[in-house]
C-alpha cells in the first residue's frame, strides 16, 4: 500500500505493518536460538541441572566469594535413606516424587523454584531447611510430615498442611525429588539462605 502525498512515512499504516512483522520475526529467531542453547544447558547431568544420582551425595548451599552469591556444593557420599542408587534407580524415584507433587497440587500452596502459590513456604531448598533440626533425623521427619502433616507443628498462625493421602512409597519419592531439586543452580535464589547444619 503506497502512502499518499500528505501522509508522513512514519505515521503510515504500511510502515508500522512492516516494522511489526520484521521485529517479530527477528525476536522469534533470537528466542529460538537462545532456547536451543538453554535447553542444551539444562539437560539433567549437566552443570546446572545435576544428575539424579546426585541424591547419593551430601548437598550444601554455600556463599561463593567470587560470585558474591550462594552456590550448590556437592559433598561426600551420603546416600538418601542409606541406600546408594544407580542413575536409573534415582531417576525413577525422583520421577515418582515429581508426579506425586503434581498429583497433590503442591504448587497451589507452595512455590517450586519460586513459582506457584504463596500460602506455604518455597520448596526449592526444602531439603536444606533448618526446620528439620539435624541431618540424622531429617529424612524420617520429612517422610512422616509429608504422609500426615495435619497433626505436626507448623507455625503460630494455625495454618496447616492437610493430609493428602500420600503413601509411604510416595513420601520417600517426594523427599528424593526435593533433595535432587536442591542441587539445581538457581543463580543464587533464594538469597542469604541459612541451610541446616550437616556437619554433625
Amino acid at each position: 500500500m503506497a502512502a499518499n502525498d500528505n501522509e508522513l512515512w512514519w505515521a503510515s499504516e504500511s510502515f508500522w505493518k512492516k516494522t511489526t512483522i520484521w521485529t517479530t520475526v527477528v525476536m522469534l529467531f533470537v528466542l529460538v536460538g537462545l532456547t536451543l542453547d538453554t535447553v542444551s544447558q539444562i539437560q539433567v547431568g549437566g552443570k546446572r541441572v545435576l544428575a539424579y544420582s546426585t541424591i547419593n551425595n551430601r548437598v550444601d548451599y554455600k556463599f561463593d566469594e567470587t560470585l558474591k552469591r550462594q552456590v550448590v556444593v556437592i559433598g561426600q557420599e551420603e546416600p538418601l535413606f542409606g541406600k546408594k542408587l544407580t542413575e536409573q534407580e534415582a531417576e525413577a524415584l525422583v520421577d515418582h516424587g515429581k508426579l506425586t507433587m503434581h498429583a497433590k497440587n503442591c504448587m497451589d500452596c507452595h512455590t517450586i523454584l519460586g513459582n506457584g502459590a504463596y500460602y506455604a513456604p518455597d520448596l526449592t531448598k526444602a531439603w536444606l531447611d533448618p526446620f528439620w533440626g539435624s541431618r540424622g533425623v531429617r529424612e524420617d521427619l520429612m517422610v512422616a510430615f509429608i504422609k500426615d502433616p495435619s497433626d505436626k507443628v507448623h507455625n503460630s498462625l494455625g495454618r496447616r498442611m492437610p493430609k493428602l493421602g500420600v503413601t509411604d512409597e510416595e513420601a520417600h519419592a517426594v523427599v528424593a525429588y526435593l533433595k535432587w531439586m536442591s542441587t539445581i543452580d538457581t543463580n543464587g535464589f533464594p538469597n542469604n539462605f541459612k541451610p541446616i547444619d550437616q556437619e554433625n
Binding site: 499504516e13 517479530t24 539444562i42 508426579l99 523454584l113 500460602y119
Partner: protein, 489 residues
C-alpha cells in the same frame, strides 16, 4: 414509564448470537472466580476455614483456572462479536461453532467438578490424564487439554474460513483481521507446549513459561489490541485507518519487548545466567506499548470530545487503558529487574501484580464488550447521558475498581513486609516465611484484601444486575458517529 425493550437476539448477526453465549458463560465464571478467591482469601486470615474440606490449594486452583477460562471465553466471544463485520461475510460453520461452544462449556464444568470432588490423585500418570496436571494455571488434566485444543481448532476454522470468504468478496482482509488470525495461530500453537510431562523440573518450567508468558504477555495483549481497535471504532467512531496504524505500532512494541521479556521468568529456575540481563532489559521495555495504548485511547477520546454511543463500554475501555498500563506495566516493572526480583519472586508482590494485571488488562476489556453486546441486544439503544438506571453501571464500576485497587494495595503492603522480613533478613527459610506471614504488617494486608474483596464481590453482583437491565427503558436509538463532521470542526 417508557416502553420496555426486551433482550432480543434477533438484533444480532450469527456470530454475535454465538458471542453472547460465550459472554454469558464468561460472566458466570467470573462469579466463580470471585467466590473461590474469597474462600482462599478467608483462609489466609482464618486457616481453619474449610480445612480438610476445600483446602486452600483447591480454592486457589479453581480461582485461577476460572480466571483463565472466563478471559478466554470473553476473547472468543469478542472475536465472534466482531467477526462478520470485520470479515464482511456471515460466519462460516456456525453450527459447528455452536456445538463446540457446548462441548467447551461441558468440558470446563467436568474439570471443575473433578477439581472439587476428587481433588487429588495418586502420584502416577493417570492423575495427570484424569484429575490434575498440578502445574499452576495449567492444572487442567490432559484429556481436557486435548478437548480444549479441538475446540480452539474448530474456533480457528470458523474465524479463518469467514475471513477468507469475506476476502473473496471484499478483495482483502482488514488489518485487524490479519493480526487476529496470526494471533490465534500463535495462541493455539503455544498451548501445545504445555501438554507434556518431564521429570526435569527446570525444563518443565522452561516450556511451561512459554505457555503462560506467551499467552499473557504476548498473544493476549495482541488480542486486546485488536479488541480495543474494534471497540474504539464502534463506540467512539475513530476511523479505521487510525486504529489499524496504532494496532501495528502496539503489536510492534508488544512483541518487540515481550518475546524476549520471557527472560524475567528464567532468572531462578536453573536456566543460564544470561537470562538475567536479557530478561531484565526487555521486560523493562514491556510497559512502553502499554503507554502507547493509553495515549491512543485517551487521545482518540479527546479528539471525539468523549462523545460516544455507549458510556459504560467507553468507561471500561478507559479503565482498560489505565489498568493495563498500571497493572501489567508499572506493577510488573517495579519487580522485574533481577536485583529486585531476587527478593520479591514468589511473594505477595507477585500476587498484587497478578491481580492488577489480569484485571486491568483483560477483565476490563471483556466487560466493555459485554456492554457493547447488551446495547445491541436491546436493539441498539442510546447508552449515554440520561440513561435510565445510570447509577447501576457507574456504581458497579466504582465498586469493582476500588475493590480491586484495595486488594492490590493490601497485597503490595504484605509483599513489602514479606520481601523484607522473609527474604532480605530471614533468608527464605520456612521459619523466615512464617515470621513474615505472622507479622502485623502482613496480616493487616490480608485483612484489607479480604475486606476489599467483599467490595469487589458487591460490584460484581451489581454488574450482573446491570447487564440484565441496562437499556431496558431506553427509547432513544443509537446515533451514528459523524466522524467527518467532528474532524472538520
Amino acid at each position: 414509564m417508557t416502553a420496555i425493550r426486551a433482550l432480543n437476539s434477533a438484533n444480532l448477526n450469527g456470530g454475535q448470537k454465538l458471542a453472547v453465549k460465550y459472554f454469558t458463560v464468561a460472566l458466570a465464571l467470573l462469579g466463580a472466580q470471585i467466590l473461590f478467591g474469597m474462600l482462599a482469601a478467608t483462609q489466609f486470615v482464618m486457616p481453619g476455614f474449610l480445612y480438610g474440606v476445600i483446602d486452600f490449594s483447591i480454592n486457589r486452583m479453581v480461582h485461577i483456572n476460572a480466571l483463565v477460562v472466563w478471559l478466554l471465553f470473553g476473547f472468543i466471544g469478542a472475536v465472534y462479536w466482531m467477526l462478520e463485520e470485520e470479515a464482511g461475510a456471515p460466519t462460516v460453520g456456525l453450527k459447528l461453532g455452536n456445538i463446540i461452544f457446548y462441548v467447551f462449556t461441558a468440558t470446563v464444568l467436568v474439570v471443575v467438578a473433578v477439581y472439587l470432588l476428587v481433588q487429588v490423585g495418586p502420584g502416577e500418570m493417570s492423575t495427570q490424564w484424569l484429575i490434575t496436571e498440578g502445574r499452576e494455571y495449567t492444572e487442567a488434566p490432559r484429556w481436557a487439554d486435548i478437548g480444549i485444543v479441538v475446540c480452539v481448532l474448530a474456533f480457528f476454522y470458523n474465524v479463518a474460513a469467514t475471513f477468507f470468504k469475506g476476502k473473496a468478496a471484499k478483495g482483502g482482509i482488514s488489518g485487524i483481521g490479519g493480526v487476529l488470525l496470526l494471533d490465534l495461530v500463535a495462541l493455539a500453537g503455544i498451548y501445545l507446549l504445555g501438554m507434556w510431562y518431564t521429570t526435569n523440573v527446570t525444563l518443565d518450567q522452561y516450556w511451561w513459561w512459554w505457555v503462560i508468558h506467551m499467552w499473557v504477555e504476548a498473544t493476549w495483549e495482541v488480542m486486546v489490541g485488536c479488541m480495543m481497535a474494534y471497540a474504539l471504532m464502534n463506540v467512539l467512531g475513530t476511523s479505521r485507518k487510525i486504529v489499524t496504524t496504532w494496532l501495528y505500532l502496539e503489536v510492534f512494541m508488544m512483541l518487540g519487548s515481550g518475546i524476549l521479556g520471557i527472560g524475567h521468568h528464567y532468572f531462578w529456575i536453573g536456566t543460564p545466567e544470561y537470562w538475567l540481563s536479557i530478561g531484565g532489559f526487555f521486560s523493562a521495555l514491556e510497559p512502553l506499548p502499554l503507554v502507547a495504548m493509553v495515549v491512543h485511547a485517551v487521545y482518540d477520546s479527546g479528539v471525539h470530545k468523549s462523545r460516544n454511543n455507549n458510556h459504560p463500554a467507553m468507561g471500561w475501555l478507559i479503565a482498560q487503558a489505565f489498568g493495563n498500563f498500571l497493572g501489567a506495566g508499572v506493577w510488573g516493572f517495579i519487580h522485574t529487574l533481577p536485583q529486585i526480583n531476587l527478593y520479591t519472586h514468589g511473594t505477595q508482590w507477585s500476587a498484587s501484580h497478578g491481580h492488577f494485571a489480569f484485571y486491568g488488562a483483560y477483565a476490563t476489556i471483556n466487560i466493555a464488550f459485554f456492554y457493547m453486546a447488551t446495547q445491541k441486544l436491546r436493539g441498539d439503544v442510546w447508552m449515554s447521558g440520561n440513561l435510565f438506571g445510570n447509577w447501576k453501571w457507574k456504581w458497579a464500576m466504582v465498586l469493582l475498581n476500588l475493590g480491586m485497587l484495595g486488594m492490590i494495595m493490601g497485597m503490595l503492603v504484605a509483599g513489602f513486609a514479606q520481601s523484607q522480613i522473609e527474604r532480605a533478613i530471614g533468608g527464605a527459610t520456612w521459619t523466615a516465611f512464617f515470621a513474615a506471614q505472622e507479622h502485623p504488617w502482613f496480616v493487616q494486608g490480608m485483612y484489607w484484601r479480604l475486606a476489599f474483596g467483599w467490595m469487589f464481590a458487591a460490584g460484581y453482583v451489581l454488574l450482573v444486575w446491570d447487564m440484565l437491565t441496562i437499556g431496558k427503558r431506553e427509547t432513544r436509538a443509537v446515533q451514528s458517529h459523524d466522524d467527518a463532521a467532528l474532524e472538520a470542526k
